[in-house]
């Protein structure tokens, strides 16, 4: 933006893509850039709330978190990290070719970004499906059948004691809840077909007890009358999986929104909207995409890898 006098001179000239409230492209581009970064700041705080929840519970129940984490498949998690990194590279290149005004390369890299984004979500879907089949989606109401057929499904028995137990005082208190409530519908066909994951495997807690590094919260949280209580341990593992699903779910939601943005961007790029003079939308979408990538960079070690050293490190304690 030169002086204001200049801006007045070409008052009638409007660059393509320039909105009426701005004087020139520089001002518009700067506004978009600051606005996008402000948006990213609020995204940081949005995920930050979840990270705070993670931090609090991890510091309270590290062993339960390790037990839950060890059941996640680090292969899929790692693969997804790589997929997302590649998509970030293609996105960065898409922005670069938009800056250079090269339409074809721009389109190609946007498409590649979308493909990798979709692969990420596909892997996520595989993981979620696996978790669902193993019955570790920690939602009350799911896995209800397991309670009724507990004798035939020994693997899923422990899992259901709380969710399916109608003696739970919280259940009876909630019979009057007026919102849609899965408890009231009665029959559920979900169950734990493989039963591979034993929620109440509290061996890590026992290990920590022997090693003498249980936290204060764990000493209260896992034990009843000085005895290790597998059911109480299970509740804490459930908290881990709850946090896992909320965090990765919100991340996946952001990926889906990102793919929607990409689709719009692809259409615009295809139409040749962007040029070396006007490419803000590509750049802003790129910022968003990289941000979502950064969230995953933190989620991967914090969710998938936090307890591996207990498995591989031998009896260090």
């Amino acid at each position: 933006m030169a002086t204001h006098a200049d801006a007045l001179h070409d008052h009638h000239y409007h660059a393509p893509g320039l909105q009426h409230q701005f004087e020139d492209m520089g001002q518009q581009q700067e506004s978009a850039s600051i606005g996008m970064w402000m948006f990213l700041v609020q995204e940081i705080m949005f995920f930050g709330g979840m990270f705070t929840v993670y931090l609090v519970f991890r510091s309270k129940y590290p062993m339960a978190f390790a037990a839950g984490s060890n059941h996640l498949d680090a292969f899929w998690g790692g693969l997804n990290t790589l997929v997302l990194i590649v998509s970030s590279l293609t996105m960065a290149l898409a922005v670069r070719y938009a800056q250079l005004g090269k339409r074809n390369l721009q389109v190609i890299f946007i498409i590649l970004t979308m493909i990798f984004g979709t692969v990420f979500l596909g892997v996520k879907a595989i993981e979620y499906t696996k978790k669902y089949k193993e019955g570790i989606v920690p939602v009350a109401g799911l896995n209800m059948r397991t309670a009724k057929t507990a004798s035939t499904h020994p693997g899923g028995r422990e899992l259901s004691t709380r969710t399916g137990d109608t003696q739970d005082p919280r259940e009876s208190l909630n019979t009057g809840v007026s919102e849609s409530n899965t408890h009231e519908t009665g029959e559920h066909s979900y169950y734990n077909p493989t039963g591979t994951f034993v929620w109440t495997d509290a061996s890590l807690a026992a290990q920590a007890q022997q090693g003498g590094y249980l936290t204060d919260s764990e000493k209260i949280g896992y034990f009843s009358n000085g005895e290790l209580n597998a059911n109480k341990f299970r509740d804490k593992v459930r908290i881990f999986f709850w946090i896992y699903f909320v965090m990765t779910g919100l991340h996946a939601l952001h990926m889906i929104i990102g793919l929607g943005v990409m689709a719009w961007l692809l259409w615009k790029a295809w139409m040749g909207t962007f040029s070396a003079a006007y490419y803000s939308p590509v750049e802003m979408s790129g910022l968003y995409w990289h941000f979502v990538d950064i969230v995953w960079i933190f989620l991967f070690p914090l969710l998938y890898l936090l307890g591996r050293h207990f498995l591989h490190g031998g009896a260090g304690h």
């Binding site: 002086t3 204001h4 801006a7 007045l8 909105q19 009426h20 409230q21 701005f22 004087e23 001002q27 700067e30 506004s31 600051i34 606005g35 402000m38 948006f39 700041v41 609020q42 995204e43 705080m45 949005f46 995920f47 930050g48 709330g49 979840m50 705070t52 929840v53 609090v56 519970f57 309270k60 129940y61 920690p138 939602v139 009350a140 109401g141 709380r162 969710t163 919280r170 208190l173 909630n174 009057g176 809840v177 007026s178 919102e179 899965t182 919260s217 949280g221 109480k232 509740d235 804490k236 459930r238 908290i239 709850w242 946090i243 909320v246």
Partner: protein, 557 residues
């Protein structure tokens, strides 16, 4: 000095052929408008409706408390009524009121821009507000919630039989409105200022909105995720907020207050901005300590994030954390005090005219002082053990929120009414109303300080007989306050249709908003203004003739 001339001729200058109000009359031209001024009007209408609804709930509360027994409302219903009052007033009136109405209307004009940086996002934020409001209203009408506006867990997640999720979702959606408004303001102030409008020439109204926007962007997403977690927790019943199985209800309070304490600064900071404008302009004097007031707004926004634990002194939070939060609470009082001192110093030897907006501003200073100082009582860790969850708390935050924010809002609305509508309201009736509001307000809430100190707990429909006299005072005051709030509705509406036509600059003031027509044209200024003067410049050379202004004022009154 072309700009000075522009002021002097402001009143005789030819009116723009089309102003923002006459630029289109169809419903579509309003509902799909991208003009920040029209969006501000949309907010004005809807926020006022929510204010009326919240006020209706308040009247129910006061009526119930007229007698010691729980007779008008059952306890269950009473719980819902005060919850609805809180939710509507906090999320749908106090937070959007000044920023979304006055800020939206004035910030682009005050900095000499054609519009906000993102007009479409501005409209979108109004639709978010409407969607969140509609969902919340639906939930309230279907039966509502009884958790209190704070939604404390595990009651809200486990035991409450209400539409917690629907209301939570409504607030969640409404949060986006707040975030987008804040984002828009920040970008606008950074990039849209007119030539010559440097940071330290910005009106303090803009500075305070900048600080408010920071809080909106940094705080609101946290309440969004918190409410989302609460809703999901209610759906799935994992127990992360349920102490029975190792969850942590205090974590909810941490997350909730991380936003909701800074949110009280979202509510009061814009009020500070309005008051700075009013005090300086109606004293016809450059504001004392401009930089101090500007930076104290930013300081409040920053320190406001460090004190949330003072809502949790008796919750089971560690004593060490309580001490830190208590200390920082005392610290955050400093920037607020700086403002009050600077306002007082501005009044000193000023040529004060007691127009209606100024009356509100003066009332504000007194009431905010009481509200702020009683806040120090509540920030003291020892004293709070006695005062927590009593009417002392209720009186404290009503002194800040109603005595502070609502009075600032009313003062600002009167002050810029001529600019917004192009019509003058009745000075007589507005002064009467301002005085009625002041009297009614004090009669309502001052007895509550005493009640709280005597130990009357909040949030109960019934109370021991000995508290009745003070409660009758309070209810009587509320009736007077209601009259004071209904009056402006009548005479302001009347003025739209029958009021005298407002000149561009009825008080001969130097701000940019007074250098364009009333109501302004859609593009705000005929041509982009070039700012060559400091903020609040009332000197000889400014060309703002005081005598002339007073005469003009006499004519207007």
């Amino acid at each position: 000095m072309q700009n000075v001339d522009a002021i002097n001729v402001g009143n005789i200058k030819e009116e723009p052929r089309v102003n923002y109000l006459t630029n289109g009359f169809t419903l579509k031209s309003w509902l799909l408008t991208k003009d920040h001024k029209r969006i501000a009007i949309l907010y004005l209408v809807t926020v006022s409706a929510f204010f009326a609804l919240g006020g209706a709930y308040a009247s129910l509360i006061r009526l119930e408390l007229l007698t010691p027994a729980s007779d008008l409302l059952q306890s269950q219903t009473y719980n819902k009524v005060f919850t609805h009052h809180g939710i509507i007033m906090v999320f749908f009136f106090l937070i959007p009121s000044i920023p979304a109405i006055l800020g939206n209307f004035l910030i682009p004009i005050m900095i000499g821009a054609k519009d906000l940086a993102f007009p479409r996002i501005n409209l979108l934020s109004w639709y978010f507000y409407m969607a969140g409001g509609a969902l919340t209203l639906y939930a309230l009408l279907r039966g509502g919630v009884d958790t209190g506006w704070t939604f404390y867990t595990p009651y809200s997640t486990t035991f409450s039989n209400g539409y917690v999720m629907a209301v939570g979702l409504g607030i969640f959606i409404n949060g986006f409105s707040s975030i987008l408004t804040g984002l828009n303001f920040i970008v606008t102030v950074h990039t849209m200022r007119a030539p010559g409008m440097t940071w330290f020439r910005l009106p303090l109204f803009v500075w305070s909105h900048y600080a408010t926007s920071l809080v909106m962007i940094l705080g609101t997403p946290v309440i969004a995720i918190t409410i989302l977690l609460m809703a999901l927790e209610r759906l799935a019943r994992i127990g992360i907020f349920d102490p029975a199985i190792g969850g942590d209800p205090i974590l909810f309070q941490h997350l909730f207050w991380f936003y909701s304490h800074p949110a009280v600064y979202i509510m009061i900071l814009p009020g500070f901005g309005v008051i700075s404008e009013l005090i300086s302009n109606f004293s016809r004097k450059k504001i004392f300590g401009y930089e101090f007031i500007a930076f104290s707004s930013i300081a409040i926004a920053v320190f406001g994030f460090l004190v949330w634990g003072h809502h949790m002194f008796v919750s089971g939070q560690s004593i060490y954390a309580g001490l830190v939060f208590s200390f920082l609470t005392m610290v955050v009082a400093i920037p607020s005090a700086i403002k009050v001192f600077n306002w007082a110093a501005t009044l000193y030897k000023g040529q004060i005219s007691y127009d209606t907006p100024m009356l509100y501003a003066l009332f504000f200073i007194g009431l905010f002082l009481i509200g702020g100082l009683t806040g120090l009582f509540l920030g003291a860790m020892g004293l709070v053990v006695h005062l927590t969850d009593t009417y002392f708390v209720v009186a404290h935050f009503h002194y800040v929120m109603v005595g502070g924010q609502v009075l600032a809002y009313l003062g600002g609305l009167h002050y810029w009414w001529s600019k917004i509508t192009g019509k003058m309201y009745s000075e007589f009736w507005s002064k009467i109303a301002a005085i009625i509001v002041f009297v009614g307000f004090n009669l309502t809430f001052f007895p509550q300080f005493i009640l709280g100190y005597l130990g009357m707990p909040r949030r109960y429909a019934s109370y021991p007989d000995e508290f009745q006299v003070l409660n009758i005072f309070s209810t009587a005051g509320a009736s007077i306050l209601a009259i004071g709030l209904i009056l402006p509705l009548i005479y302001l509406t009347y003025s739209i249709f029958f009021g005298a036509k407002a000149p561009a600059n009825p008080w001969m003031l130097p701000g940019l908003e007074w250098r364009t027509a009333s109501p302004p044209p859609t593009e705000n200024f005929e041509e982009t203004p070039i700012v060559t003067w400091e903020a609040y410049e009332f000197g000889e050379e400014s060309g703002l003739d005081l005598e002339d202004a007073r005469n003009r004022n006499k004519v207007l009154v």
